[in-house]
């Protein structure tokens, strides 16, 4: 490894990691399709791509969590066939996950040595803490080795994760969207650490979808799109614009399923948000002053990479999350917020991201889930006693109308296929005759046929006068279905377009955090 200390050595000659032709299939999806990836000693190599582009699958293959269906893995010129994450760690591949894997009640030092083979138990605390302290100074990772994890901030916890990997003498470090949980200042500090690590000839694989950061810290970038590697470029030859193009694809294939000349100027506003603000589960600002309106019959898309506030937006509108500022109006009626019942009664339908556990009670029957919101209304019960026969006949009719493939109305909902689960949910939401529908990633994980059905149902709803807010990471879907779209980045709306006139390039740049040129925004 010492021969690689000189970081200016030609990369191609000292590859630290070479993945070639990696293919990984899951039922119904090819997550990685012949991906080629090579990173050299002493470089920060970014892995860039939208959600679902195959970044996570690729890093799981490299860390031994998944076994690839095809392709080879070479670490430091040795071919490996990882059977478990342990094997990968032994080969020098360490990963810092987005969700930390730390024992909250243990100290930093204890977490660092946890799981280490041999002798860990008998090492004195002082010696371990000393070692951790040395590492943390060497790599600019300030953290008190004696502190307990629960006392640390998110940024500090991430440093512990990095120390853990360094302590195991990993030569290849994978950082999975590390800046997603950091403040800008913390991100800068992390970049310093990353440079210190690669200065020793180690390799850092930096998974990200933030274009400016990638250009800032990485030497080279490999871009994934739709499970394939579309190219590796040096950041010195790249601009935010050229990376955005690679990431989103200039020739994004979509068929407009919506007429371009619909006008909604006269339709009443059915959903209005004014200056909405909200915090995420960790207490960070997740929605920053979001204002948006949806008119009856209109489909408005919210595009953006996951984790930029879309989830919180949907939750605030539907009452699942309390806002910390701003107002939401449904059909002109102001919601007090934080109360799903109120939103439902105001005429809001919700197709949540997690359809099987949030949108449905998975172990309950299909018929119970079909009345999950209407059970408290009149025909379904009489003085508190449920009318089973009415529920059954209503359920049977809906199953027929929405073509739900189920053995019967009493089958547990979780036993149905993904597409049929979504049909049960949509059947229930549509029959409530809503004014507004908030749909979050409604086709994610469905097969082609089911995607078509769900999209047709959404278009049908809009034709019936429902205002639809379609929140999706799938840009193709947003472009195909909506009349108007906004882009969210870091909790704010950073651009708005009439979909028929939208420039994919500018959308891609906005999604990656670059600001669009003013004329493009004005053009909307």
């Amino acid at each position: 490894m010492t021969d690689a200390m000189n970081t200016t050595t030609a990369w191609a000659e000292v590859q630290a990691v070479v993945l070639s032709g990696i293919t990984k299939r899951f039922p119904g999806v090819v997550a990685n399709d012949g991906v080629n990836f090579a990173a050299a000693h002493g470089e920060v190599h970014a892995l860039l791509g939208e959600n679902g582009a195959g970044k996570s699958t690729l890093s799981n293959v490299l860390t031994g969590l998944y076994r690839p269906d095809e392709g080879t893995i070479d670490i430091g010129r040795v071919r490996h066939n990882f059977g478990s994450p342990r094997d990968a760690l032994d080969a020098g591949v360490g990963m810092v996950h987005q969700h930390f894997r730390l024992v909250q009640t243990f100290s930093v030092a204890e977490n660092v040595v946890l799981g280490e083979k041999g002798g860990g138990v008998f090492l004195s605390r002082r010696i371990i803490e000393q070692r951790v302290r040395e590492l943390s100074e060497r790599y600019h990772l300030p953290v008190d080795p004696a502190a307990k994890i629960w006392q640390l901030s998110v940024g500090e916890q991430q440093r512990v994760e990095i120390l853990k990997v360094l302590y195991r003498q990993a030569t290849v470090l994978i950082l999975d969207e590390p800046t997603a949980v950091l403040t800008p200042a913390e991100s800068q500090a992390l970049f310093t650490t990353m440079r210190a690590i690669v200065a020793e000839g180690r390799t850092v694989i930096f998974i990200s979808h933030k274009l400016d950061e990638v250009i800032d810290v990485a030497d080279r970038v490999t871009v994934l799109r739709g499970g394939r590697s579309v190219g590796t470029v040096a950041t010195s030859d790249s601009t935010v614009r050229s990376l955005a193009e690679l990431m989103v694809g200039r020739d994004i294939a979509f068929t407009r399923q919506r007429s371009n000349d619909l006008v909604f100027g006269d339709s009443p506003v059915v959903l209005e948000m004014r200056h909405l603000q909200a915090h995420d589960d960790r207490g960070r600002m997740a929605l920053k002053n979001v204002s948006l309106t949806v008119r009856a019959g209109e489909i408005v898309g919210v595009a953006g990479v996951a984790g930029n506030g879309q989830r919180e937006l949907a939750e605030v509108i539907t009452g699942l999350r309390e806002s910390s500022g701003g107002v939401t109006l449904v059909g002109g009626f102001g919601l007090r917020g934080g109360n799903p019942r109120e939103a439902i009664d105001a005429g809001l339908a919700h197709v949540p991201e997690d359809r099987l556990h949030t949108g449905l009670a998975p172990s309950l029957s299909v018929e119970d889930n079909l009345v999950l919101k209407s059970y408290r209304k009149r025909p379904i019960h009489t003085v508190g006693v449920l009318r089973r026969s009415r529920i059954r006949s209503m359920a049977t009719a809906l199953i027929e109308r929405f073509d739900v493939k189920t053995p019967g109305p009493q089958t547990a909902t979780r036993l149905l296929s993904g597409g049929n689960v979504q049909k049960v949910l949509l059947a229930r939401e549509f029959t409530a005759k809503p004014k507004v529908m908030v749909a979050a990633s409604p086709t994610r994980g469905l097969d082609v046929g089911a995607i078509e059905t769900v999209r047709k149902l959404i278009l049908q709803a809009a034709d019936d006068g429902v205002g639809v807010l379609l929140i999706s990471e799938d840009l193709e879907e947003v472009l195909a279905l909506t009349d108007r779209l906004v882009v969210m980045y870091e909790g704010a709306i950073v651009g708005e377009f009439a979909t028929s006139a939208a420039s994919i390039e500018s959308i891609g740049m906005l999604m990656g955090g670059a600001s669009a040129s003013p004329d493009e925004v004005a053009a909307s």
Binding site: N339, P352, L360, R376, V385, L386
Partner: protein, 378 residues
């Protein structure tokens, strides 16, 4: 190089076949009897004789059935209490304390109203037992609803508080409940004869009023959970609290209500303990009985089905009853306990089989070339 690793894996069953729900418990009991027989043989007892005795002393005659039903009554109440809460995923471990509080309340009103007519006292005792048990359960319920405190911990701790309060009332104070005339060992005031609950005799089998009340309660709880809007909400919360919130169910209020119902059922058991059996607030007897904890086992074995709780409580009562009969100089109580424990153990173990399928997985890590070297190595 090849390595074949055999691994035992538990896979969750997607759907539990209907017949499994009764076949597995039956087979579990069968397994327990087989293991128990080995144990009996090893300790020099005839298993067939012993099992025959267990059956005849537990369920075989009218007098033994009377005893069994009496023993089943308190655990029927606490079993219902546990089932009512557990169905919503609310783990009320505090049946013990709620039963004690119910007994305190019921005996209090029974003493106070001793000159009233029997039906008046009966109704007052039922109400007092339910209210005291229910309110006592609302404390952990409130903490859960308001601060998301784990009800498992708080309701468990409240059992100890209840036991201390009970001791205080009888042993450490001259309270309203303590009999001032008791010399030496302090006891509670006995309730008047009008306050004692009736017994029914159905073809020579004695059935205490409490058992009838409990069976009615079981039917009511079953209907409430199966047939009503309220029960629907409870089922949704029990299956997926997020989905319940999404559907607009007020989960906090549900926690309070269900906790109150559960506590009231346990408290009713306390009233029955006073009215049917002890006729006095018996501090020592109540703290040693452990009705609350047995109730959790009853509820679990009944798969939280209120009607099945009746059956399981009677079976458990029968086992206890037979245990008393078996016990003797040549049959130590430890052996009785072991036999009862085996049945519980096997039933709970069988439960795992209904929900999971055991798969012994032989995974070939690398393609295994079949060569002579391989054979000789093996």
């Amino acid at each position: 190089m090849s390595s074949v690793r055999g691994r035992v894996r538990f896979e969750k069953r997607l759907d539990v076949a209907k017949r499994m729900t009764y076949l597995v418990p039956l087979m579990s009991v069968g397994a327990a009897l087989v293991v128990g027989a080995i144990l009996l043989l090893a300790t020099g007892h005839n298993p067939i004789d012993t099992y025959h005795k267990v059956f005849s002393r537990g369920f075989g005659s009218r007098s033994s059935l009377s005893g069994t039903i009496g023993l089943a009554t308190p655990i029927l109440f606490t079993g219902l209490a546990a089932a009512a809460a557990f169905r919503m995923g609310l783990f009320n471990i505090g049946g013990e304390g709620q039963l004690i509080m119910g007994a305190v309340g019921a005996s209090g009103v029974a003493i106070a109203l001793s000159d009233q007519a029997a039906p008046v006292i009966f109704i007052a005792m039922v109400v007092a037992g339910m209210v005291c048990g229910g309110l006592y359960a609302l404390v952990p319920g409130f903490l859960k609803a308001r601060f998301k405190t784990s009800e498992i911990i708080t309701s468990l701790m409240m059992n100890y508080i209840a036991a201390i309060v009970l001791n205080y009332l009888i042993f450490n104070s001259t309270s309203y409940w303590r009999d001032p005339k008791s010399k030496g060992f302090p006891t509670g005031k006995a309730i008047g004869s009008a306050a004692q609950w009736n017994e029914f005799t159905v073809s020579d089998v004695v059935v205490p009023l409490g058992f009838v009340v409990a069976s009615i309660a079981a039917a009511v709880v079953w209907g409430l959970y199966k047939k009503t809007r309220f029960g629907f909400e409870v089922n949704v919360v029990g299956d997926s609290p997020v989905a319940a919130r999404y559907a607009g169910v007020n989960t906090r209020r549900k926690v309070l209500t269900v906790m109150g119902i559960s506590g009231a059922l346990a408290g009713l058991g306390g009233a029955s303990d006073i009215g049917d059996f002890r006729h006095v607030l018996d501090a020592k007897g109540l703290s040693q009985a452990g009705y609350g904890y047995t109730g959790i086992v009853v509820a679990a074995l009944a798969r939280l089905n209120p009607l099945a709780v009746i059956v399981v409580a009677v079976v458990m009562g029968g086992l206890t009853n037979a245990g008393y009969a078996l016990q003797g100089p040549d049959f130590p109580s430890g052996l009785v306990g072991t036999l009862q424990g085996l049945i519980l153990f096997c039933t709970v173990a069988g439960e795992v089989l209904t929900r999971y399928r055991v798969r012994i997985n032989r995974r070939t890590v690398a393609p295994a070339p079949s060569g002579p070297a391989e054979v000789s190595a093996a």
